[in-house]
């Protein structure tokens, strides 16, 4: 289990996460939802070790990792698909994958190329010449070759064409089948609810709702109350 217990996080003087408490069961997909600015990205960055909590604990399988360095957390089995498709711009596609490759990962470079043939076609091209969709595939592929135990996904469908959204959906399903723990931050509610077992909703740096995804999907009034959405029909990729 991944546990966040009373996390306080600041950017300089501004206090962003307020005694945030949440947990993720091993092997589950948790949808982390919330309006823009709620602190979802900040939460993932803190788990990854990019930000240090000023108070509180982060535990993985009972071990306190709150003050570990990012690289140590990565080597423990955490991987991140950062918001905005962060890739290494001056590295080729193959190098982007190669530096992340973990020999014990169940997914090899070949598996990634099979999943995303576009990446294989462009393997020697610098990553900054890829389209947004291709960069998203590269981010996903890079996370796969890490062989993560916990994958942090930050708005993977943001600005993506329906075909890429579908592909991302397949990848997350595959990870779920493989028993990998996934924290999925999403604005696309239909996408998130079709994958997640549980939902946590954030507002102003705190978790204000936790429940089963089915329940959250079934109750429109919960969605309106916590997210302010009035979506009609929950279809993936639209």
């Amino acid at each position: 289990m991944l546990e966040l217990e009373g996390i306080d996080v600041f950017y300089g003087p501004s206090h962003v996460l307020h005694a945030l408490t949440a947990h993720v069961e091993e092997g589950e997909v948790l949808a982390l939802l919330g309006r823009s600015g709620a602190g979802k990205t900040t939460t993932l960055k803190t788990v990854m070790g990019w930000l240090r909590p000023r108070a509180g604990r982060i535990r993985w399988r009972g071990q306190d990792i709150s003050h570990w360095e990012s690289v140590r957390i990565a080597r423990l089995g955490f991987a991140m698909v950062a918001q905005g498709r962060r890739v290494f711009p001056s590295l080729s596609v193959a190098e982007n994958l190669g530096i992340a490759l973990n020999p014990t990962s169940p997914w090899s470079l070949e598996d990634v190329y099979q999943l995303f043939p576009r990446l294989e076609e462009r393997r020697y091209q610098a990553a900054n010449t890829l389209s947004g969709g291709e960069q998203q595939m590269l981010s996903l592929g890079r996370a796969l070759v890490r062989g993560p135990r916990v994958l942090l996904l930050d708005e993977p469908t943001e600005g993506m064409a329906p075909a890429i959204v579908q592909l991302t959906h397949q990848v997350v399903e595959m990870l779920r089948e493989a028993g990998i723990t996934v924290v999925l931050v999403e604005q696309n509610l239909a996408f998130a609810l079709s994958l997640a077992a549980r939902v946590a909703v954030m507002n102003k740096g705190q978790v204000v709702y936790e429940g089963r995804a089915q329940e959250f999907a079934a109750h429109r009034e919960l969605q309106v109350q916590y997210l302010g959405v009035s979506t009609t029909g929950l279809r993936v990729g639209s």
Binding site: M48, F88, S90, E95, I99, R146
Partner: protein
Amino acid sequence: MVLEQLVNAVSYSMLLFLLAVGLSVTLGLLRVVNLTHGSYYLLGGYVGLSVVRWTHNFLLATGAGAATTAALAALMFWGLLRRFLGQESAQVLITFGSLFIVADGCLAIWGGQTYTIPPPPGLSSSLLLAGAHIPTYLLLLIAVGATGAAAVYWVFERTRVGAMVRAAVDDRELAEACGVDVRALSFGVFTLGGAIAGLAGVLGGPVIGVYPGADLAVLLLALVIVVVGGAGSMLGALLGSLVIGFVTTYGSLYFPEIASGIVYLAMVLVILFRPQGLVPARGLDQT
């Protein structure tokens, strides 16, 4: 005359590349200018000088010079800089202070004279090539410099470790999240950069000489090269070195009255038209 100047320019450029490459890559990685970089050159030169005097073995001198400055760089990084990663002004102060410590140490040991390291036996004469007198030592400098440059370039651009360094220059956070130990990598790059600068100090000994103040002079040159070429990129260091090597050589030939300022003129021109340098690392484009 034409060939002689060309050999001068190319050999000087190769020496400059060895001098600047470490500074450029550590700047890309740490986002801090290592002001001690010129001191590695100076210390390498002095150690090389002493070893040549004792053993008359130039090869041994280059090894000793490089090893000494590698040790100094490693000590600086592990003992001091490692604790201040991300704190840029602290790091600048540390490297600035070390500059004076090394300079005073060298002055105490080797005194204030200007020395020239004797070139290896058999390479102190000239070669008559197409009617031009070419000092054989400069040909050695070109060969060693080009080989060194090719080796460093290959590691940086073609190996997995090199890709990790470039990844860390692009996006340090993301590199760490991909399992890259950026701190260990920085240590290695810092140490290697120190070793190469020390090697340049020995190699430059027969042509530039070793003297108090050489540390600052070459630090300035290396900085100009990094500004011209663009920080954190191997191609930038190479291009910057060629530009400055050729501008210096031909500038002092055709415009002797402004020779000392001409490299800065070149730098200003580059800054005006390409503020990030000729070929910066892509991750540094925006900064």
